[in-house]
């Protein structure tokens, strides 16, 4: 395991902002830390980085304690809302950080890779939020980290930048870096992470793969059928379901009856023009698990 957190608790001002959290991230694995504001995502990350001491439990990064030099050399961090000094240029900041990581040779390549090479000689004061985030990611890519801790890296980014961002994260994971990434925007994480960990009031309520979570939750799946508008009423009669417009029909089924439903649809043959299967989205899953926790 690259990162191993066992029974970690942090008490701040009499409140347990992190409560007995155990979590691990393997080599090349991407784990999403999800939870709304104040759930304890940043707290857990700072504990992992050794910035905040633990009150209980243990963290180990490739067997080293957090905050030790050996752990620091292998760990990259992108803080939430980091803003580098506006009077410096992107290149100057990256050069400074690269020299500490003894990886000055990568500066130009990384500026190119995150797409701010053209702006690298401009002061950071003139950068957009997206460019500042790209610079932040560039420093996290220095010196081939074994663990990358990214705190809400895509908040406030447009969809294109967001996609670029996840591409780089995938590349990093592809090279064997363990990735812990936090977010409160849940839908964007679909298909971009291997495992979801949901934090709620400092407790880890869920920690599993997306597929397993879907199965456990048993949330209904939606099947949307498009057909000739003359026939939708007839189809609705034979299959059940709800018309959503002239040509489309929506069926709702449990995960275990999904295949059966689909075969009934295909039996209808060529009068069906198209079929879409819509699994429950992450937001619905998140709401389900949060509600379950409250009960």
């Amino acid at each position: 395991m690259t990162l191993q957190v066992s029974g970690a608790s942090i008490v701040r001002g009499g409140v347990r902002t992190l409560n007995q959290v155990s979590l691990s991230v393997a080599r090349g694995e991407r784990v999403a830390l999800v939870g709304h504001n104040g759930a304890g995502k940043t707290t857990l990350m700072k504990a992992v980085l050794g910035l905040w001491p633990l009150d209980e439990g243990e963290v180990s990064i490739m067997g080293e304690p957090p905050g030790s030099k050996a752990a620091q050399e292998r760990t990259a961090y992108l803080p939430e809302n980091v803003s580098f000094h506006p009077a410096l240029t992107g290149r100057e900041v990256l050069q400074m950080l690269a020299s500490i990581r003894k990886d000055s040779a990568s500066v130009e390549r990384l500026l190119e890779r995150v797409g701010i090479a053209d702006a690298a000689s401009r002061r950071i004061g003139t950068y957009s939020k997206g460019m500042r985030q790209r610079l932040g990611l560039a420093q996290a890519l220095l010196a081939q980290p074994r663990l990358a801790v990214l705190d809400e890296p895509t908040s406030g980014l447009d969809p294109v930048s967001r996609n670029d961002f996840y591409k780089l994260v995938d590349e990093l994971a592809g090279n064997g870096t363990a990735i812990l990434i936090s977010s409160h925007a849940l839908t964007e994480l679909e298909a971009k992470t291997d495992r979801i960990a949901i934090l709620r009031n400092g407790h880890l309520v869920v920690n599993d793969t997306l597929t397993a979570l879907r199965q456990q939750a048993g949330l209904p799946i939606k099947v949307r059928i498009t057909a000739n508008s003359m026939l939708t009423d007839a189809i609705a009669e034979s299959l059940g379901g709800r018309r959503i417009n002239g040509q489309s029909l929506e069926l709702v089924c449990a995960p275990e009856t999904k295949v059966k439903t689909l075969s009934r649809i295909t039996e209808l043959g060529s009068i069906i023009e198209d079929v879409d299967v819509i699994p429950p989205c992450l937001d619905e899953l998140y709401q389900y698990y949060s509600a379950e926790d409250q009960q």
């Binding site: 001491p53 809302n81 980091v82 000094h85 950080l97």
Partner: protein, 273 residues
């Protein structure tokens, strides 16, 4: 050390681009030039060369100006990084916390040194142009430069300590102004008041006063850099055990920067960003 230089390089760029370097140089040059011109008139009457007369005024000026410049350079050094979120990032890098302080110290020290060299250089130049200078007065100016750098270094360290301790640029600025006012102005007023009350030469003037005087870096700077004639005069007036005091001010002036940097280091170690 490589890490400290990496921090220093960017910090020096920041002083340059924020016009802090420029403003410091301007302050030192303007005041030094003006004081030298003013002193050139009185130099003849006192029987000393222009540069000696000017240096005495420069010493007085520097007591106020150098701590002020040093605090302006340093007050947001740590709190600013904390507020921007960059401190949390830097502290996850494999770099000792002291290297951050030391890097900033190198850059701000260089800024201060440039301002002092140019300011005192202007004083020397103007003295040569409109009056006279000598090897002795030039040596004296060098002593002044060394003393001013140590004084500045003390206040840089104090600024970092305040910045790390308050964790907010606003509060750090407030404490910096307070510290400047206390060390440079109020402390001397209080000592004078003590002397006035204790006119009969009681224990305050005999025992405590000399030690209190050298304990303050600004006063230690005055004692170290006063021309020898004036220092003798001062010590005959106030400082009874001259032998014990002779090295005292210099030791104090050397100890202050070290003590303040240690204090700053201890303050930054307490931060969990």
């Amino acid at each position: 050390m490589r890490t400290a230089f990496a921090f220093a390089a960017n910090e020096f760029r920041i002083s340059r681009r924020n016009r802090l370097l420029w403003a410091s140089v301007l302050m030192m040059v303007l005041f030094s030039g003006a004081l030298t011109l003013l002193s050139s008139g009185s130099a003849g009457n006192l029987g000393v060369d222009t540069l000696t007369a000017a240096s005495a005024s420069l010493a007085t000026l520097s007591v106020y100006l150098v701590p002020l410049i040093a605090l302006i350079l340093s007050f947001d050094a740590i709190a600013g990084e904390l507020e921007r979120g960059t401190l949390a990032l830097i502290l996850t890098y494999p770099a000792p916390r002291f290297s951050l302080i030391f890097g900033k110290f190198l850059a701000h020290g260089a800024t201060l040194a440039i301002a002092l060299c140019l300011g005192y250089g202007v004083a020397a130049g103007v003295s040569l142009a409109v009056g006279s200078a000598s090897i002795e007065s030039a040596m004296y100016l060098l002593r002044l430069l060394g003393g001013a750098l140590l004084l500045g270094a003390s206040f840089l360290g104090l600024g970092y300590a305040l910045s790390a301790w308050t964790r907010s640029t606003g509060a750090a600025a407030g404490y910096a102004i307070g510290a400047w006012l206390f060390v440079v102005v109020l402390y001397d007023v209080a000592l004078l008041a003590g002397l006035v009350v204790d006119t009969s030469g009681g224990p305050f003037s005999k025992i405590y006063f000399p030690w209190l005087l050298i304990a303050n870096p600004a006063d230690a700077f005055r004692l170290v850099t006063l021309p020898s004639g004036q220092a003798a005069e001062l010590s005959s007036g106030f400082i009874s055990s001259a032998a014990a005091m002779s090295a005292g001010p210099l030791v104090s002036l050397l100890a202050w920067p070290v003590a303040m940097l240690v204090l700053a280091w201890m303050s930054i170690r307490r931060i969990s960003p």
